[in-house]
């Protein structure tokens, strides 16, 4: 069982998200005395009788002044069995930008709704974005159940409606769970509530602790973008030449047949090194240094991959883009693409479609793509790149789009992603 769970929360201030996140920190004793003193003082000042847990994650002064509460904040808490990195994504404004950022590293998404309002437009949008990014599991926290008198029937209606929506986005049974909670009162967050005897499932924290997260690394073929060539040139390691990188997918062992792309050079893994010694096997996410049996010309940006299951090498592909910049995209735009450890020039040849994540419908040839919109584009690259489809191998199918003029990050890209991969979406033929 993996011991580090990365999760993203989405929902608006009104749904009580800050209070829920504050409650998780509070109930896992991640809030220390001086922080608690500070929020107790502030709560008394505001005329409240119990500490306002939302203050634990409240924005900064400059955010309030400049309106940049629109940013992903990272929170940390732990139980004896698992550590959690929580990407807290604000819901109202710029939700695509924030949700995409939080979801890009998340293994689980927690969506929050107000029990009095149920599943709303924003819930559907967030779920669609999480589905697109391939976040494997969802939790619907139905908050403020105290305000609907812990009514089972009302909860069931919300849970069923959300389950139907998640199914239409491609989530299989067992990957989505709805939990009745009250962040304010603590019901079913860390402690099983006596007010919901009809709910037999886990508390939110129990679920986060127990939910299986790591995909089986043996299923995916090996991929490692080369970050840096290690050549010590010291007397002890005079001829040492190792390729440093973090395994993006799969596993690697000494003796494995590999291919170096885009060149297409074949070799055999001689050793898998770390500062703690050589390994007999290394899996996804591990930072290693690979030594190959042959003396090849390999540099940063190349990809070492399983020889019998290598990514395609191409200078053209279609991709979904989540547009994150206030500068709008039009066909013909020249951009930079960073994929793996390589940055290449590219041109957006066609803007094929825009995805309306609210209605789950497709708009053909929209002409432009604006901040927080999601589109499908055809890209032509100045160089050949080894790429996988995002849905097959997220870490080698993901890229960012950079503005060559000022270096801004413009978009998140998903190679080969077609919106029709989300079930329930009908995509018109792309010309």
């Amino acid at each position: 069982m993996s011991s580090l769970l990365r999760l993203a929360t989405a929902g608006s201030v009104d749904d009580g998200k800050s209070t829920l996140v504050g409650r998780l920190l509070y109930d896992t004793k991640s809030v220390l005395a001086d922080q608690l003193d500070a929020i107790e003082r502030a709560s008394v000042d505001k005329g409240m009788t119990t500490p306002d847990l939302s203050l634990l994650v409240d924005g900064l002064r400059s955010e309030r002044e400049q309106g940049i509460t629109i940013d992903v904040a990272y929170r940390y808490f732990a139980t004896p069995n698992r550590s959690f990195v929580l990407a807290d994504t604000p819901g109202h404004v710029q939700y695509t930008r924030n949700t995409v950022t939080g979801a890009s590293t998340a293994q689980l998404g927690v969506l929050l709704v107000d029990a009095r309002n149920g599943v709303v437009e924003q819930t559907r949008r967030h779920a669609a974005v999480l589905a697109m990014l391939g976040v494997p599991r969802l939790v619907l926290a139905v908050n403020k159940v105290d305000l609907i008198d812990y009514d089972e029937a009302a909860f069931t209606v919300i849970a069923k409606e959300f389950a139907a929506h998640a199914t239409s986005l491609g989530y299989a049974e067992g990957t989505v769970l709805a939990i009745p909670v009250s962040a304010l009162q603590g019901d079913n967050v860390a402690t099983k509530s006596e007010n919901t005897p009809w709910y037999s499932g886990p508390t939110l924290l129990e679920h986060l602790e127990e939910v299986p997260v790591a995909p089986d690394p043996h299923e995916a073929p090996f991929r490692m973008p080369v970050q840096y060539v290690i050549r010590p040139r010291t007397p002890e390691y005079l001829d040492y030449r190792g390729y440093a990188g973090q395994i993006a997918a799969g596993t690697v062992r000494p003796g494995d047949e590999v291919v170096v792309l885009p060149q297409g050079l074949k070799s055999t893994v001689e050793s898998v090194d770390t500062a703690d010694g050589s390994l007999s096997e290394a899996g996804t996410g591990k930072s290693i240094t690979v030594v190959l049996a042959d003396d090849l010309d390999i540099t940063r940006g190349d990809v070492i991959a399983a020889a019998d299951n290598a990514p395609k090498v191409t200078d053209e592909f279609t991709a979904a883009l989540c547009w994150l910049s206030s500068k709008q995209l039009e066909p013909g735009a020249r951009v930079l693409i960073k994929q793996g450890t390589r940055t290449v020039q590219a041109m957006v040849e066609e803007l094929n479609a825009r995805f309306d994540e609210q209605t789950l419908s497709i708009v053909d040839s929209p002409g432009k793509l604006e901040l927080n919109e999601i589109g499908n584009v055809s890209l032509r690259l100045a160089e050949q790149l080894p790429v996988d489809d995002y849905t097959v191998s997220p870490r080698t199918g993901a890229f960012i789009v950079i503005d060559p003029k000022d270096g801004d990050t413009l978009a998140a890209g998903l190679v080969g992603h077609r919106f029709s991969q989300l079930k329930g979406v009908t995509e018109p033929e792309v010309a």
Binding site: I230, P232, G245, Q246, S287, K338, T341
Partner: protein, 306 residues
């Protein structure tokens, strides 16, 4: 497997993931920047940073120099440790001295005697003079709220300023280090470590730290609820009584405003037990400058301090 064994397994996995993430960040910077530097104070976070850099490039030497912003209010043990580390790993050390700036009038001593806020100018000058384009810092997002939204690659203007509006979304592990001439990027490989992770990793890796992190006898006096120690920065006022206590430091900063905590933890394992039982955050307990105002850290960050 017992619950305890499962918990121990979980902790190992978590540290392995954090280590791989930090190593990946070091290698990205080495691959994409011309003149990176590691900010090194001799404190535990920067020592951990250096340890991870050594692991990232092994068996080659670390391809970056160290930069120490020296407030002149140092603990002797920490300076000795700094010099020991530099020699042991054959590193190049650049020192930016606050004392030099005070001596020649470019900076004025503050009324309260603390020099933490004075570090900004020498730091920015050292970055500009040496044309450093990536500056590694030991900042962690769990330290306090101003850092919860900090990026791993944090873009700074040519004035060293952090403009929240120009910070880029960070997706997957694809960091964008593009910057204009004169700008630089602060890089935080320990972003996702918590204080408890830092200590557990130090224990696992047997990382050597300055001795003041462990319990020792020290003459201290109480000011604003903190145990301060006498030094070149001054000492107790007449109304402040000096006690000899068994203390240790949880953070190492400017001696005039870094407080000791009463502790008998003399090994890393005892420190971990203490941290886990602690009811005060490390900054709240030991940094006078952070307690001055709720937004103190945020202000300093905008000025170009970390």
């Amino acid at each position: 497997m017992t619950t305890l064994e499962a918990a121990a397994d979980a902790a190992r996995d978590n540290l392995a993931a954090l280590e791989s993430e930090a190593i990946h960040i070091f290698r990205e910077v080495a691959g994409e920047f011309d003149r990176p530097v590691i900010l090194f104070s001799g404190g535990k976070d920067s020592t951990l940073l250096l340890h991870l850099a050594i692991k990232a490039f092994w068996p080659a030497p670390v391809p970056f120099p160290l930069l120490h912003v020296d407030t002149g209010h140092n603990f002797d043990e920490v300076i000795a440790f700094r010099d020991h580390v530099v020699e042991k790993y054959g590193l190049r050390l650049v020192v930016a001295s606050v004392q030099d700036y005070i001596d020649d009038g470019r900076l004025a001593e503050r009324a309260d005697g603390t020099r933490n806020p004075l570090q900004t100018q020498p730091l920015l000058d050292a970055i500009a003079d040496n044309k450093f384009d990536a500056v590694f810092g030991g900042g962690r997002r769990d330290e306090e709220r101003a850092r919860a939204k900090e990026r791993i690659f944090s873009l700074r203007s040519s004035f060293g300023q952090w403009d929240p509006r120009r910070q880029r979304p960070e997706l997957w592990n694809l960091y964008n280090g593009r910057h204009r001439p004169g700008e630089h990027v602060r890089v935080f490989p320990l972003s996702n470590f918590t204080e408890s992770d830092v200590w557990n990793y130090i224990a696992r890796e047997q990382v050597e730290l300055p001795s003041i992190y462990y319990a020792h006898q020290r003459k201290v006096y109480s000011r604003d609820g903190m145990w301060l120690t006498e030094g070149p920065w001054g000492g107790p006022r007449e109304d402040e009584e000096v006690h000899e206590l068994t203390v240790r430091y949880r953070t190492v900063g400017d001696g005039s405003c870094t407080g000791a905590v009463e502790s008998t933890a003399s090994t890393v394992e005892e420190v971990i037990a203490e941290v886990q039982a602690s009811r005060l955050t490390e900054r709240g307990a030991t940094r006078a400058d952070d307690r001055m105002s709720e937004a103190a850290m945020e202000d300093r960050k905008r000025e170009g301090y970390f």
